[in-house]
């Protein structure tokens, strides 16, 4: 400490801050979020152990009782769990953003000469990377249980592209929830009671044909179903074919997934930005 009192702490001849270019701001903040994962790898359990556990639970515990006629349930299930995993990107963004707001980190960042949007963009990119690690783990897991990309590389990549697109839309939901909720516990509570059941109310885990008609209608119009269907189609999963009178989103799942993603973004993004600005401005 004594050194401080005797010598200059700051060298004012050195360059003055100019504010980093936005790309550098975003990369710097993404790196920060990825360092969090490196320091606390258990943060990844939500996209690794949890979905793998789901695959095993559903494939081996419930699998026998869930009737998907003439089809191996395990590879059929996998795209559904990937869709669920990518939907949880909202969860990851919401928790991270809410924590940063609560701990004053967002205020510190806002006191710097950076663009406010860098805070959100970096959070979103980090969350997509986080979820993508999960999707990669799922893919590897899939190889062990008989899942293959069977329709060629391009259609295989289309599937992954649709996953990312839907993840992008869900990120806005995460920004909205993370900004609006007052605590991480509240974020957890809301997400578990909404996103979680919504991902189940779909064709991800079970065929919709056998559901009661009101439930079937809900499930088949669920964006998760369109995404799951698009993945099954493009990855050539056995049993992917839908019945002839299935609603439009299941007949055109790629387009439906794109429309759903754009619609969610168009609807939620303005609300999310407003919630974030309200929360962080006074």
């Amino acid at each position: 400490m004594s050194a401080v009192t005797q010598t200059a702490v700051l060298d004012r001849t050195a360059p003055r801050p100019t504010g980093a270019g936005q790309v550098r701001q975003i990369l710097t903040l993404v790196r920060r979020n990825l360092t969090h994962i490196k320091r606390q790898p258990e943060m990844l359990t939500d996209v690794t152990i949890q979905p793998v556990m789901f695959v095993l639970l559903f494939a081996y515990v419930f699998g026998g009782s869930i009737n998907v006629p003439g089809v191996d349930y395990k590879p059929w299930l996998l795209p559904g769990i990937m869709a669920q995993t990518i939907a949880f990107s909202a969860f990851i963004v919401a928790i991270g953003l809410n924590t940063d707001i609560g701990k004053g980190m967002v205020d510190r960042l806002r006191s710097l000469p950076i663009r406010r949007s860098s805070i959100l963009v970096s959070r979103s990119i980090a969350a997509l990377i986080h979820s993508s690690i999960g999707v990669a783990v799922m893919s590897v897991t899939g190889l062990f249980i008989g899942w293959r990309v069977g329709e060629g590389v391009l259609r295989g990549l289309l599937g992954y592209g649709l996953l990312l697109l839907f993840g992008f839309a869900m990120i806005w939901v995460g920004i909205l929830v993370g900004s609006a909720m007052r605590s991480v516990e509240a974020v957890n509570g809301l997400m578990f009671t909404t996103i979680f059941p919504i991902t189940f109310l779909s064709n991800a885990f079970a065929r919709t044909d056998v559901m009661p008609s009101w439930l079937r209608t809900m499930a088949e119009w669920n964006p998760i179903s369109a995404l799951t269907q698009a993945l099954r189609d493009n990855w050539g999963v056995a049993g992917a074919a839908v019945r002839a009178d299935a609603p439009w989103p299941l007949q055109n799942p790629e387009l439906a997934t794109i429309i759903w993603s754009l619609a969610i973004t168009a609807l939620i993004a303005p609300l999310a930005l407003r919630a974030f600005n309200n929360r962080t401005t006074d």
Binding site: V4, V9, L10, P15, T35, R39, G104, D107, R108
Partner: protein
């Protein structure tokens, strides 16, 4: 006013309302370059809100403020580029190391990478954190956290530094260490605005103190001027045995005159008194065979200042004037 004389921090008629509640009410002040300005007040007085407005985190309802010549509302980017902020709760990233925290903020300021690296190393050394620089902040002690927080605020060598209750929650030793660091910064020409609940802290550091209560400035002056208003220190003796209280009281009256006796607490309080009086009283109590638990000087507290300035204690004013 020439450019050289222009205040580095300036607030003119700042008002901040949250709904019906007026958190800051018509606050004006000026801080000359290289000086230390202390905002003194109890919890909820509006100190943090003032700092948030000065650092562009909150928008004033009325009035204006300039930092380093830039308006906080119309030129927030320029304000942010020229100041550092150490908020009330140390806002460092727990999962990053001290060095990574410094580099994170340095990169965001847009400093060249080489400069960021060398300044980070330099600040770690200056703040006695060079050995802990590669440990995650989560494992830091409270004092180390405060130091890294302050170091992070200094990565861009800001001309103006805002510190919101920089020593709250620190042990006495860490507090004194931090004061030394702040004095060093001032010597280098940094202008400081700090908020505190402690009169002794404002006394130690500030050239000018403004006392805030309910968002209003109720007094302004040098530490000396304020202490004059709030009365001198008092001398407090706590006697060990109940049966010696009256004997001690008589003895004390002989030395300093009028005293206050709290027989139940075995506590005697005498106004004024200096260190010489303290020594003389210690000797006499010892000669008289009176056992003493505690003997010392009590400096005027924030409560004493408030008592002197407002005629009632800080807590009482809080209760009386809570907005409807």
């Amino acid at each position: 006013m020439s450019a050289q004389e222009a205040p580095v921090i300036e607030a003119v008629g700042l008002v901040k309302r949250f709904g019906d509640f007026t958190a800051v009410d018509d606050v004006s002040f000026e801080v000359p370059k290289g000086s230390v300005f202390g905002l003194l007040g109890p919890n909820g007085a509006g100190k943090t809100t003032i700092v948030r407005m000065m650092t562009t985190l909150a928008i004033p309802t009325r009035g204006s403020a300039r930092v380093a010549g830039h308006d906080v509302v119309t030129e927030p980017e320029a304000v942010r580029a020229s100041m550092g902020l150490t908020a009330q709760s140390a806002t460092v990233d727990d999962l990053l190391t001290g060095r990574e925290n410094l580099r994170l903020i340095g990169d965001l300021y847009g400093l060249p990478r080489k400069v960021v690296r060398s300044r980070a190393d330099e600040l770690l050394e200056r703040f006695s954190l060079d050995e802990s620089g590669d440990k995650v902040v989560k494992d830091y002690s409270g004092g180390m956290r405060r130091r890294i927080d302050l170091a992070v605020s200094l990565i861009a060598a800001p001309a103006v530094l805002f510190l919101d209750e920089p020593t709250t929650g620190l042990d006495p030793r860490s507090r004194v260490e931090l004061w030394d660091v702040l004095r060093g910064l001032v010597r280098d020409g940094t202008t400081l605005l700090l908020t505190t609940q402690y009169l002794d802290e404002a006394d130690q550091l500030a050239d000018t103190i403004v006392v805030i209560d309910h968002g209003r400035i109720i007094a302004q002056g040098t530490p000396l001027e304020l202490k004059d208003q709030s009365g001198a220190a008092s001398l407090v003796v706590t006697v060990s045995r109940h049966d010696q209280v009256q004997q001690a009281a008589a003895l004390l009256r002989g030395v300093v005159g009028d005293i206050h006796v709290d027989a139940d607490a075995r506590k005697l309080t005498a106004p004024a008194g200096d260190v010489a009086a303290l020594a003389s009283i210690a000797g006499r109590l010892d000669e008289a065979g009176i056992d003493v638990d505690d003997l010392g000087m009590q400096r005027p507290s924030l409560d004493d200042v408030f008592l002197a300035l407002t005629g009632h204690k800080a807590e009482e004013t809080t209760n009386e004037e809570v907005p409807a």
